[in-house]
């Protein structure tokens, strides 16, 4: 009895130290950044950064769109893949959804016979478009064994082409109020956090999640363990495609119009959010809580610099530095962990 207590005692603090969630450090970075902008705000422009609800709302709304696709992209990266097509899929699905969401009786509608539909139809169209594209991505990668980088690069170019071709580059406006309601107010944020929560649970507590991590950590070992690796790859890319479709829907509803160029560059922001949040590009490591914080950090950077009237070019430069620094810090942390 006493012997047990003795042997258990020294192990306790070590164990507790190891169990600290890795997100804490980047949460610290996020808070530190906000405080920095707060201080700089008072010094340079003489006002508070955080005590401005409108600014915070715009920042969060913008980042929640990136966040929705980042939920899918993070899962792909954990599985050892990459997705360059998510931004283009947002553009493609935005056009699909918007074309079925036009106001009743609008004479210049894309489909004059299909105006004033129940918003369920455009939403399903957007999601279905993403689903098909995601399934194509996944099947190419799983069954032809081409690198995910190439497969999704092809999809990135083609999907943007589809978006442009669909209306010959013309924007789609005059969307119905019912549809617009999906992107109104805090809905985009709620949708983002809901998706993050659902897939956080899925990654941590379901077989789907366990297989995702296993394939990312060692696809060959996963295969030898009887996991149907090919099927799982298709599933994960399909889910990411659907999330891109969801982002396309949310974006058109928020902007109350569909434009072919929507989502350009989103794929890189989504990857950046995942990577800043501690997801390893070599697979097997990552958490959606980190991605959520990563997305917020990107938002804080953009809105903080805008608030300080920093030139947009400088913003980009600094954003690039932050992304690289995050990866360096993460690798350093992992190497240290490996030495334990």
């Amino acid at each position: 009895m006493s012997e047990q207590a003795l042997s258990a005692a020294p192990a306790e603090p070590k164990r507790r130290a190891r169990r600290l969630p890795p997100e804490l450090s980047i949460l610290g970075v996020m808070i530190g950044m906000m405080l920095l902008f707060e201080a700089l705000g008072w010094l340079i422009v003489g006002q508070s950064f955080m005590a401005n609800p409108l600014r915070l709302k715009i920042m969060i709304l913008q980042e929640s769109e990136i966040g929705i696709i980042a939920v899918g992209v993070t899962q792909i990266i954990i599985m050892g893949g990459i997705d360059l097509s998510s931004g283009s899929l947002v553009g493609m699905t935005a056009m699909l959804a918007a074309s079925l969401a036009q106001r009743e009786g609008y004479t210049h509608a894309i489909y004059p016979g299909l105006t004033g539909l129940n918003p369920l139809f455009p939403v399903l169209a957007g999601l279905a478009g993403g689903l098909v594209a995601g399934a194509v991505n996944g099947s190419l990668i799983a069954y032809t064994k081409i690198p995910p980088f190439i497969a999704t690069l092809g999809m990135m170019v083609s999907a943007r082409g589809v978006a442009d071709w669909y209306t010959d580059g013309q924007p789609i406006g005059n969307l119905s109020d019912d549809y617009a309601a999906i992107g109104a107010g805090w809905w985009p944020v709620i949708i983002f956090l809901m998706m993050a929560f659902i897939f956080h649970i899925a990654l941590r507590y379901t077989r789907y999640g366990k297989f995702t991590y296993a394939i990312g950590a060692n696809p060959l070992a996963a295969r030898v363990s009887g996991i149907n690796v090919e099927r799982h790859i298709v599933v994960v890319y399909t889910i990411a495609g659907v999330l891109s479709g969801l982002c396309g829907v949310v974006h058109t509803a928020r902007a109350i119009s569909g434009q072919a160029g929507v989502g350009a560059g989103f794929e890189l922001d989504a990857i950046a959010a995942a990577v800043i949040g501690g997801t390893s590009l070599s697979g097997g490591v990552g958490r959606l809580t980190g991605t959520v914080i990563g997305a917020v950090i990107l938002g804080v950077l953009t809105s903080g610099f805008t608030f300080l009237n920093v030139d947009a070019h400088y913003q980009e430069i600094i954003k690039g530095v932050v992304i690289v620094a995050a990866v360096i810090a993460d690798q350093y942390r992992q190497r240290r962990r490996r030495k334990v």
């Binding site: 077989r207 950590a217 060692n218 030898v224 363990s225 390893s280 490591v285 490996r338």
Partner: protein, 514 residues
């Protein structure tokens, strides 16, 4: 003599090494630890000018680690390193080359899409006056080198188009082209035929005559006595001793290599052998192995022996559906089954511990639990997709206790465990699936002596419970100690099926080496 590469000459001139030192190389008190394993413990080694010094030891004895230290690939944690009497320190393989130490790697390191000549002179390409690579000169130099070594390979051919044996000869020529004083050969004959072995030995004798020193790693005893002057034996990361090759016998070396392990080996318990579970008929994977047929019974351990490259592991992979067979039949309980992927093999009651822990076994980044549960999640232990983690944790705890996995807890990343404990975790992964047929490919490779005995004991226990075991091993004592019967393979074909009572090391080696 060919052209001495200027860098080698420069370094030696600057180094002020004793030009006629008797020992080209002397290393002492070398220690090297990897996470969880002490690979080398106070090891020494010395190489005489004009001598071939063989290194012997079982897998994991530390030979390769020591050679990688000498070749500058690893830096030792401590120890002294003297080249021709001068204390030096190597920081990279390039450093080693500059000091005149070249290594021929066991796994070939040639660029497949480059020509033979380009491969040999990589990083040392002759250039013309404009600074461009002079292909004509490169070709001439290669041809001169090949003429000297009597190698008959076109210097302009792409390595891709060469046979494995020819590639090995190119590797050897490349190492010789450095005009190094010390050549390290890591199992240079594992992939070449007898004719080429004779050729290689001619080259080695010529190099000896030029005063070069050769470090020769091999598992083949007859080569040792044919070519080596000295032999150093290693065991479990420790230096056992250095001997004159002419003063020791084959049996001496084996005894020194295996040491106390022979007595610690857990022999298989005598258990009643039951009905045939697995029956394999004319199993073939084109280009790898042909017409393999055998029966495996309940409670039986069938050893699968053969040299590296004989197709042993391919048979196991094909049985388990990793690389589906091109022809042949597999029967379970007399009923033919189709195995196109590992899932189908698992449904038929098979389990497969792969040869390479890191490559196809462990999820190194994940914790022990994640590693153990990987094979059972596909069937059961989840409700509506949600993993019943509490239940699985209990099973994992029980397996860890049964196999005595040494770890603070099951949330430790598996990469922090020693090789033996990693192996136990992987065994636990398969035991959780309650297999009827257990395929083990090198179950004790890179595992310390204690864990090895434990693994032998579990396998024996499993057989006693009626599990049929197919065990591949390169270590003959293990095969002999554990197996009821031994199937021997040579170059993709079955060369014999030997009963326990008739199985001796000599008999099996004869069948394996033909």
């Amino acid at each position: 003599m060919g052209t001495l590469s200027p860098t080698t000459a420069e370094v030696l001139r600057e180094s002020g090494a004793i030009p006629k030192a008797e020992y080209l190389l002397e290393v002492a008190n070398v220690r090297k630890a990897f996470p969880g394993v002490l690979a080398l413990d106070d090891v020494q080694f010395r190489l005489k000018r004009g001598h071939v010094h063989a290194l012997m030891g079982e897998n994991g004895a530390g030979k390769s680690t020591l050679m990688k230290i000498i070749a500058g690939i690893y830096t030792p944690d401590s120890g002294s390193f003297r080249l021709k009497g001068l204390e030096i320190r190597l920081n990279s393989p390039l450093d080693a080359l500059r000091y005149g130490i070249a290594m021929i790697h066991q796994e070939l390191n040639l660029m497949a899409y480059m020509t033979v000549a380009e491969n040999i002179w990589l990083r040392r390409e002759p250039r013309n006056r404009l600074g461009f690579v002079d292909h004509g000169e490169m070709r001439r130099r290669t041809q001169a080198l090949f003429d000297r070594l009597e190698i008959d390979i076109d210097p302009e051919i792409e390595v891709l188009d060469l046979s494995v044996a020819s590639r090995q000869m190119v590797e050897i020529a490349k190492a010789v082209s450095y005009d190094s004083d010390i050549l390290i050969m890591d199992e240079p004959t594992s992939a070449i035929t007898e004719k080429e072995v004779a050729h290689l030995f001619r080259i080695i004798r010529a190099l000896k005559a030029e005063g070069k020193g050769i470090v020769y790693i091999t598992h083949k005893m007859n080569e040792l006595f044919e070519i080596a002057d000295e032999v150093s034996v290693f065991r479990d990361g420790k230096f056992v001793g250095e001997y004159e090759a002419s003063a020791v016998t084959r049996d001496d070396i084996i005894k020194l290599m295996v040491g106390r392990e022979v007595t610690q080996m857990f022999p298989k318990q005598d258990v009643p052998i039951g009905d045939v579970i697995l029956s394999v008929k004319n199993l073939t994977l084109d280009g790898r192995f042909h017409d393999i047929s055998f029966d495996l019974r309940k409670g039986e351990i069938l050893g699968l022996a053969g040299l590296v490259g004989s197709g042993r592991s391919n048979v196991a992979e094909t049985l388990f559906g990793v690389t589906p067979a091109t022809s042949g039949q597999i029967f379970i309980d007399g009923k033919e089954i189709v195995v196109r992927n590992p899932g189908q093999a698992m449904d038929a009651g098979m389990a497969f511990l792969t040869e390479d822990r890191k490559e196809s076994g462990c999820f190194l980044l994940l914790d022990i639990t994640a590693n153990m549960q990987a094979a059972i999640l596909r069937r059961g232990y989840s409700r509506a997709g949600f993993v019943q983690q509490g239940e699985i944790d209990k099973l994992c705890e029980a397996q860890a206790a049964r196999l005595r996995v040494r770890t603070p807890d099951l949330h430790e990343p598996i990469m922090n465990l020693s090789g033996g404990n990693q192996q136990k975790v992987l065994i636990a992964r398969w035991l959780l699936t309650n297999p009827r047929i257990l395929i083990l490919d090198e179950p004790t490779r890179g595992v310390d002596v204690g864990a090895k005995a434990e693994i032998h004991r579990f396998v024996s226990e499993l057989a006693a419970q009626g599990v049929a075991v197919l065990m591949i091993s390169s270590e003959l004592p293990e095969v002999l100690g554990m197996s009821d019967r031994v199937l021997v393979m040579h170059e993709g074909r079955m060369t014999g099926l030997v009963d326990r009572k008739d199985a001796t090391q000599v008999k099996i080696m004869e069948l394996a080496a033909q």
